[in-house]
Subunit: 157 residues, 2 copies
Amino acid sequence: MTTKTIVTPSTDDDARPARDSVAAALEVIGDRWVFLILREAFFGVKRYDELRKNLGASPNILADRLKRLVDANVLEKTRYSDHKNRFEYQLTEKGLDLYPMIVMLLAWGDKWEAGAAGPPLSLIHEPCGHILTPTVNCSACGEPVRAQDVSWRANTE
Amino acid sequence: MTTKTIVTPSTDDDARPARDSVAAALEVIGDRWVFLILREAFFGVKRYDELRKNLGASPNILADRLKRLVDANVLEKTRYSDHKNRFEYQLTEKGLDLYPMIVMLLAWGDKWEAGAAGPPLSLIHEPCGHILTPTVNCSACGEPVRAQDVSWRANTE
DNA sequence: AATGTAACTATTTTTTCCATAGTTACAAAA
DNA sequence: TTTTGTAACTATGGAAAAAATAGTTACATT
């Protein structure tokens, strides 16, 4: 069984699958509006109208993306009043599990795209009270993950 | 100074900036092709032709996205031969720093979108030798980050 | 001289986006 | 009880972007 290190060039096309889990994930959330809807969801924004106000998305686009996310089981549509057409979109377990990804995206933006004024908002990790600087670690050894430390293996059946 | 917990509803519109670092990051990488190009880059694929073959993107689209990424300083375009038109696109430090985000996206796809056959490929963390299961941790206390443990604060000047 | 390769550009067709207007179902105010 | 308001959309037409295809450039190889 061979492995290939990431970031170094692979000279032969060694069985890497054309469609991996990055592609699979992007089929669900690979859209700017979807990312922004998820960001809003993590900030507690759940309703169509509030999303419209905060995102400035066109009503048809927002409706389409919400429907996709509900179909993909990332959001759940529930009624919040006895009113007929009053719905909330809540993160499912699958949706909540996107939080680490969004947090890393935000951290990258803070580091590389914030202007002279610094990041427009800070996250605070309540259990320890510090400003959150998130890192990605290997759950087996606890060490931070760097691209050059990772190799890959195709899972063929 | 007030803080607001994430995921719980925010009843008042308490000064959260409309454009945060998630939006800023998405202005650079908020496109499906860009994500896929970055994935390829992390697997060592650097050349236009190989990207074309692996991604199946139209030539104009691929050229456009590569240009954007070079302009944004995520990729660097360098000549790899004395040939006039032979270029490679290499990840800059800014680009390499996107690896944690991509890894979390892949992990999410593995967990929620892999079929019965399981993930099409596994990543291996070379320093410890285990299959990589990445987690996002607070760098201050080392604990895994969960959405419900994080609050936020707007940075106004 | 002809064919091949890498990295594109140009053009046309198709798709998607987006702004605007309109709809539904109710609630509250005039 | 007509009007105004609110929430959550749907429908429509023009604009922008994407995708497919063909063509270009600069060289190297057969």
